[in-house]
């Protein structure tokens, strides 16, 4: 009786509070209905796209976005980056590192006053094996007075399928049996270069730094590694390898470079465990030449 477009309109989710025009959330339009769009624009909440499902919408993120998110816009992207850090802390190693490949879809909702929860479908790239896989994740950003670590749950297709055991064991033995304690600076250097034998140290620095990036993330940050300024192996009495690390993190939103000091252990069995972390105040007027950073 009713045309399909009208049925869709009438069955829309009315439980969402009515939003003023400027806060319209855009919606994907099912492919088969796009031809109606030019006539019934005003009944749908977004303009009809030519090819792509998702379209831009005016003022769609005036306040923090809730509901369905544009996967290419920053709210979903920032939440997805948190998932990358989370996966790195849980599964990262000198031979397993993650990058965010793409956000397929995202949804956000307020959890009363306590915070906001994001649900995401993302593609995660394992950098060293150069494989990509899908993950479903949930990120909860608490809204407290001071910075609280977001809570993440993620399930991915086959995250640990790529076996890195042998390489990790070999590296572990190599470091354990070494007479001298290894250390390295400026990973990567100014030209983006890393000596092959210091690469595992860079990777360890990234995994350890991910604990900080995870802990410090909120909806107004987007952290990436800038550089491992210094990583030094320390002696231990037990079977863990131990490292002292000075790491530089980049926050895309404030554009600041944050300096942190980390003490952490690693073994193939235990993974990376952070013992201490401390933010270093950045001294604005006391720069050191790049070589001695």
């Amino acid at each position: 009786m009713f045309p399909l477009w009208l049925r869709l309109y009438l069955s829309r989710d009315k439980s969402r509070t009515l939003r003023p025009k400027s806060l319209r959330v855009w919606k994907p339009i099912p492919a088969q209905h796009r031809s109606f769009c030019s006539h019934f624009l005003h009944y749908f909440l977004s303009h009809c796209p030519q090819n792509e499902v998702f379209s831009e919408e005016e003022g769609a993120e005036d306040v923090m976005a809730t509901g369905e998110l544009n996967p290419n816009h920053y709210p979903a992207q920032r939440a997805a980056k948190v998932v990358q850090h989370y996966l790195t802390t849980r599964y990262g190693s000198p031979y397993r590192l993650f990058g965010l490949q793409r956000v397929h879809s995202g949804n956000a909702e307020d959890v009363g006053d306590s915070g906001r929860k994001y649900q995401l479908e993302i593609a995660v790239h394992e950098i060293i094996s150069n494989t990509t896989q899908k993950c479903s994740a949930e990120v909860f950003f608490p809204h407290g007075q001071k910075q609280e670590s977001p809570q993440v749950q993620a399930s991915c297709e086959e995250l640990l399928n790529i076996s890195t055991k042998a390489q990790e064991e070999a590296l572990y033995q190599q470091y354990k049996m070494n007479q001298t304690l290894i250390s390295a600076q400026n990973l990567p250097d100014s030209h983006g270069h890393i000596e092959p034998d210091t690469k595992p140290l860079w990777h360890l620095g990234i995994v350890a730094s991910s604990f900080i990036m995870l802990k410090e993330s909120n909806e107004n940050t987007l952290y990436n590694m800038a550089q491992v300024a210094n990583i030094t192996q320390l002696a231990t009495e037990n079977d863990q390898l131990k490292f002292d690390c000075h790491t530089l993190l980049h926050d895309m939103v404030s554009q600041e470079i944050l300096h942190w000091k980390l003490l952490f252990t690693w073994s193939p069995a235990e993974g990376v465990k952070v013992l201490q972390m401390e933010q270093l105040p950045h001294c604005h007027h006391c720069e050191k030449p790049p070589n001695t950073n």
Binding site: G59, Y74, L100, H191, Q227, H284
Partner: protein, 405 residues
Amino acid sequence: MVLFCRHQVLRIIPKNDIQLSLIKELEDMIHFELDFWRELSGVNTPVDVRVPFHSLQSVKIYLETQGIEYSVMIEDLQMMLDEEQKEMMSAAHAPKPRNTDSFDYANYHTISEIYSFQDMLVAENPNLVSKTVIGQSFEGRPLNVLKFSTGGTNRPAIWIDTGIHSREWVTQASGTWFAKKIVTDHRRDPSLTAILDNMDIFLETVTNPDGYSYTHSTNRLWRKTRKPNPGSRCVGVDPNRNWDAGFGGPGASNDPCSQIYRGPRAESESEVKSIVDFVKSHGNIKAFISIHSYSQLLLYPYGYTRTPVRDRPELDRLARKATTDLASLYGTRYTFGSIINTIYQASGGSIDWAYNQGIKFSYTFELRDTGRFGFMLPANQIIPTAQETWLALMTIMDYTLKNPY
């Protein structure tokens, strides 16, 4: 001149609190003239100290009799310094490229190397390329703009700037590559030739020369200009928050210590004012493209407000085409959209200003990568980045040519 002949650098590892305090006592023995490179921190954390030759024996005896573990990190400091000096000299005297064909595009260069390159390019292509100095940086460096033109008078033109944020090294490197690409492809590539038959291209490669120089000499991660801020210990203004577009609004900072400090007033930075004056007096710029890194984005205005630009649909379509063309080369995925929706609110930005001047095709690129290397992009990615970005630039320039307004 200070010499460190036969000075050694020792690494000492205190194993317990007693050893810690013994090392502290060592610090107080002024006559040893010890120079701590890495200070006392805690148990099992190394202490690095330079020991002058005259104190070596005593210090080692002290450590050994107390059972304090140490190792010799540097056997002879002066020898090491001499080696380093030799290396640096040989690098500095490395054969300078004699022409732009032997210039190493797959590497990062100092500001003087880029300035030499620009002069060589002009000398080699006097009928196509000329150099204009549009102003001076705060520290007095020239702000060089290369003009690519086949003639005419005040033809409609394309503006491209790279390196406004000095730490984004792949952008200055790409700008250098673009300059060479234009002269190489002129009269070989039909699209570029058509563009240059009717339009001029202006390219400012080192848009923030003071900052760029600082990233080489002192701090690789410096972003802003190098102008001191009165009353503050912090230096510099974010040149991409200093334009007169939404200046003073949210999306920039009032704090001179901030990386996004907007400056005392719009166009307070000569690096910005020079471009403003140039563009205004030219009066016929039809596309304005600012190139940054990193994030792999192609952005159109606005950053300072959520109000969409009137030309949004067209800019969005063109951005889609440009990023598709970019991806065609190496599969590099770019996202596109307005600044404020895609990355963050940013006020006082260059392309917002340009758009409000009536320059419809105003775009910002954020080049490779997406965070793995970030600002420290490996040099072997310079050329691939420049090549793919060029495809997007050609798409935008071609469209600008074919859609006059």
